[in-house]
């Protein structure tokens, strides 16, 4: 198949080379250099090759026509996610319903967009928020700035911050894109159990 196909015109003698494909043409090499039979054989080879390639390509097309569509019918139907999709963050709770976050600030330190803001406070015996000594009194993520890189999740030593699958946060109001802890936090187990 060395003389058939889309050929760059630059291989033609007398044309300047440069690898440009703009002027490519479809042609048969009918030069007189070869004997007739060889020329014909070559032409037939080129024709069958072309038909074969087309058939192969269309086979894929037809096969796919009878498969179910992968296109998500969003928003009419819910979106399907891969497990590791990095969506809106979720702050997790432990098995006792306490917040996992101990306000170590490592997510904020890891964040390349500097979009996490934390204020820490100390747990007391009658006001216990997390299992450790410290908890996040304020935990804000500024989704104007978040690039969903997942570094915060990587950095978290307590598996407290994870990526959920939320993504519908487009807004006309920038202020609304600063999510507070209450918005990010997983629901307490008791509340989750309610229908």
């Amino acid at each position: 198949m060395k003389n058939i196909g889309i050929r760059d015109d630059t291989v033609r003698p007398g044309r300047s080379s440069g690898g440009r494909r703009r002027n490519a043409v479809f042609y048969f090499d009918l030069s007189e250099a070869l004997p007739y039979t060889e020329r014909m054989a070559k032409m037939l080879r080129e024709v069958t090759g072309t038909v074969g390639a087309l058939a192969k390509g269309f086979a894929v097309t037809f096969k796919t026509m009878f498969r179910p569509a992968v296109t998500e019918n969003y928003p009419a139907e819910p979106v399907h996610f891969e497990g590791r999709y990095r969506g809106l963050h979720v702050l997790r709770r432990d098995e006792n319903g306490l917040e996992k976050c101990v306000a170590c600030f490592l997510c904020a330190a890891a964040c390349p967009a500097n979009c996490i803001y934390i204020e820490a406070a100390e747990n007391t015996s009658d006001h216990r928020i997390s299992a450790a000594e410290r908890y996040a009194k304020v935990y804000n993520i500024d989704y104007n700035r978040c690039i969903f890189c997942g570094y915060c999740v990587e950095a978290c030593p307590c598996d407290a911050i994870t990526h959920g699958h939320g993504f519908e946060i487009a807004s006309y109001d920038m202020n609304g894109l600063v999510y507070r802890k209450e918005q990010l936090l997983e629901k307490p187990p008791a509340a989750a159990a309610k229908p």
């Binding site: 101990v102 306000a103 330190a109 204020e119 450790a132 410290r134 030593p157």
Partner: protein, 741 residues
């Protein structure tokens, strides 16, 4: 290394550390010699200036021809020694020590306050012992609250005994001990369940891990989340450098871990915890103006406008001498300088004074007269003195850094301390070579320098006369002519005698230096001195009244008598300090107060404006040794203005065209115009303490009741401490003032 060979003493020891030739004086510890050669040997228990422990075994190094690894912190250099600090044997030993430490140490770094600045964490990162083979359950004891300000978390403690030693050896309080043994060893307060101490927090500061934590900083934030600014503590007159840690325009903690400044890492309870008045909810945040008998919020324009309107009216009606100004001993030099310029050249009166807590004018006058103006001791010179004479005051309570320097002089250099005091103060009990307990320091001084001193004073004088290079430290008990007598007598002692007068507050010295005195210009020249006046008139324009003004006692009397109609008060609380009654203050047409808090005086004011605290402005302050240091603006407080801005606004409204835009402009004028203040600005800018050499021939002290100390304790600081939680929370704050910890 030919340079080091030639500069070292002939008896210096030459040894090899990691292939580097190191020369050190004999007796140098290996760990220090390595440090000089730029080789860091890790250690937890070794701390310069404190007793050797050999406990943490982190500084093990291998020395050729010695069988076992040796601790670099207890081995002294020897000629020809060949030391390896980083070979495999040493690295493995260090890794083993860290593995041992981490067996019972909880890995709660994400929660621990020390995470990010923890020496154990750093060492583990360096030597990599994060993976443990320890399979057993870790020992655990519950956290203890040692005091309102100090907590102890046993599992995190690595028992380096730094806290025990710093409290015993450096603070001389000895509040900590060790209880139990083996893996259950624990740090305990020596006197009962709770700490009974000065609450200086040195133990928290020096703790290499998060075992001792601070009650004010605990679990608030993380070290990398804060901004750090080095400034000067605003409480007593010692002028400790403090590094404020700021987050969200709020001070979170103060320490001086970089050992910069005259105090090294030292801070007392006020410096380390007492900054919280800045964050107080009771701060004044908007101007208030008295209308129809009660104060109401007002705009800055209204408040200052009203003040200026009334001032102009008073001057028009009663003359310039019907106005008086009371300054502060906490505001910066620049502000004090501008305040007296406002009084002298804009308002045209010498009626300006402040609460004098030490008689600096007499000291400068006496030293100038004796031709010894360079005999002001610096803070460092106290610690290196051969002998120290302390008359009056109680530095342990009022000047913790001075007390520390005295203790270090005695402990590290074997200096002799001579104390003359009416009370059995702690320095007298613990450090003094001779203590003369007297009824009255003034009379004792007369006896000491008189012909026949009595009793202990005679012994004290005899011993003192055999000393050399004495530093004489005195409180407000010695004032006026007594200062002159003391200076004359002490200068005759052998060697270079130097002097320190103990003024109460951050800029007590600066207030006097900047001329917040009725009879003295900045730099201690009398107002009647035409040449000195001309020095300032040439830049200020106009003329300075040459008649001395009223001092603070006279101002108060004349408010009562009606001769003074307008009083401007900046950062002072005369109603409390001088007991001025409400009735007296009510007689004024204008009482203008600029302050941080609603004080007794501010409550009576016609116009109150909220001033900025030390953390919210820049400028310079002069400590009691005459060393100038820079205040740096670390944060902002919405609603407040610095006294600098307030003064500038007042001057503008009063029609004066002042050329200053920043406090630096004022400092440049001070450096140029005030005698003794021609200081090197680069040194100041990099955070140094620059000594000043003021000179002048001030008029004699007018009367005896002008100079007096507030008698603060470790937990009080004039009118400010009541707005601090940390200075009131500890149990110890309720002990009587003279209590010895």
């Amino acid at each position: 290394m030919p340079e080091t060979m030639t500069t070292a003493a002939p008896s210096a020891v030459t040894l090899t550390i990691d292939g580097k030739t190191v020369t050190a004086p004999p007796g140098t510890l290996l760990i220090e010699a390595a440090k000089q050669a730029g080789i860091e040997v890790p250690s937890f228990c070794y701390y310069p200036g404190m007793a050797l422990q050999g406990a943490c075994r982190m500084c093990l190094v291998s020395i050729e021809k010695m069988g076992k690894l040796q601790t670099a912190c207890t081995t002294t250099v020897a000629p020809g020694m060949v030391v390896h600090t980083e070979n495999d044997e040493v690295r493995n030993a260090r890794k083993a020590m860290l593995e041992f430490l981490l067996t019972n140490h909880p890995l709660d770094c994400p929660v621990c306050d020390k995470g990010g600045e923890c020496e154990l964490q750093d060492a583990v990162f360096r030597y990599g012992a994060a993976e443990t083979r320890f399979m057993e359950s870790k020992l655990h004891h519950e956290e203890k609250q040692f005091s309102k300000l100090i907590y102890y978390d046993w599992p995190r403690c690595i028992l380096c005994y730094r806290c025990v030693r710093v409290c015993d050896e450096i603070m001389d309080v000895n509040a900590y001990g060790v209880a139990f043994r083996a893996a259950h060893s624990e740090i305990i307060p020596n006197r009962g369940e709770k700490l009974e101490c000065e609450e200086c927090g040195m133990c928290v500061d020096i703790c290499p891990v998060g075992a001792l934590t601070s009650g004010t900083y605990r679990y608030k934030t993380r070290p990398w989340e804060m901004n750090y600014t080095g400034t000067v503590c605003n409480h007593c007159g010692d002028g400790c450098k403090t590094t404020l840690s700021i987050r969200n325009n709020e001070i979170i903690r103060a320490n001086n871990r970089d050992h910069s400044g005259i105090n090294g890492e030292f801070l007392c309870v006020k410096g380390r915890f007492g900054w919280d008045f800045v964050n107080s909810q009771e701060r004044l945040l908007e101007p208030r103006v008295r209308r129809n008998g009660s104060q109401a919020p007002a705009s800055w324009d209204d408040a200052l406008g009203l003040a200026v309107e009334r001032l102009k009216a008073v001057i028009k009606e009663h003359g310039r001498d019907a106005v008086a100004v009371i300054g502060s001993n906490r505001t910066s030099n620049e502000e004090n300088y501008l305040l007296q310029r406002l009084a002298r050249s804009v308002l045209g009166t010498n009626n300006i004074d402040h609460h004098r807590t030490a008689d600096y004018a007499s000291l400068v006058g006496a030293l100038t007269a004796a031709g010894a103006k360079d005999r002001h001791a610096t803070m460092a010179e106290i610690a290196s003195a051969n002998s120290i004479l302390l008359i009056g005051n109680d530095p342990t309570q009022q000047h913790p850094l001075v007390a520390l320097q005295i203790r270090e002089a005695v402990r590290q250099h074997g200096a002799h301390l001579y104390v003359i005091n009416r009370n059995r103060i702690k320095l007298a009990e613990r450090q003094a070579a001779v203590f003369a307990e007297v009824k009255n320091e003034t009379e004792a001084l007369a006896s000491l320098i008189g012909d026949s001193p009595s009793g202990e004073l005679a012994a004290l004088r005899e011993k003192l006369q055999a000393e050399s290079d004495t530093v004489v430290i005195f409180g407000s008990e010695i004032q006026g002519r007594d200062v002159q007598r003391l200076v004359r007598w002490a200068l005759a002692l052998p060697g270079r005698t130097r002097f320190v007068a103990l003024g109460d507050y951050a800029n007590s010295r600066g207030a006097a230096d900047m001329g917040l005195l009725p009879n003295t210009l900045p730099g201690y020249s009398p107002v009647s001195d035409v040449a000195a006046s001309a020095r300032f008139e040439s830049v200020w324009g106009g003329s300075i009244p040459s008649k001395p003004g009223r001092n603070i006692r006279e101002i108060i009397v004349d408010i009562d008598s009606g001769a003074i109609k307008a009083l401007l008060v900046f950062g002072s609380n005369p109603a409390k300090t001088f007991g001025v009654s409400k009735e007296t203050l009510a007689k004024l047409s204008l009482l203008f107060v600029a302050d941080l808090f609603p004080t007794e005086t501010a409550a009576m004011a016609d116009v109150v404006v909220p001033a900025a605290s030390f953390a919210e402005k820049s400028g310079t302050v002069t400590n009691l040794c005459g060393e100038v240091q820079a205040l740096r603006k670390t944060m902002r407080k919405a609603g407040t203005r610095s006294d600098f801005e307030i003064l500038l606004a007042l001057a503008r409204l009063l029609g004066a065209a002042w050329p200053y835009r920043t406090p630096d402009d004022v400092l440049r004028e001070i450096v140029e115009r005030v005698p003794g203040y021609s200081i090197a600005l680069p040194h100041l800018l990099v955070g140094g303490a620059v000594p000043t050499r003021p000179e002048g021939a001030p008029l004699a002290l007018e009367r005896a009741d002008l100079v007096f100390s507030s008698g603060d304790s470790l937990f009080t600081s004039g009118s400010v401490s009541r707005f601090s939680w940390a200075l009131n929370a500890p149990e110890e704050a309720r002990r009587p003032r003279g209590h010895i910890f």
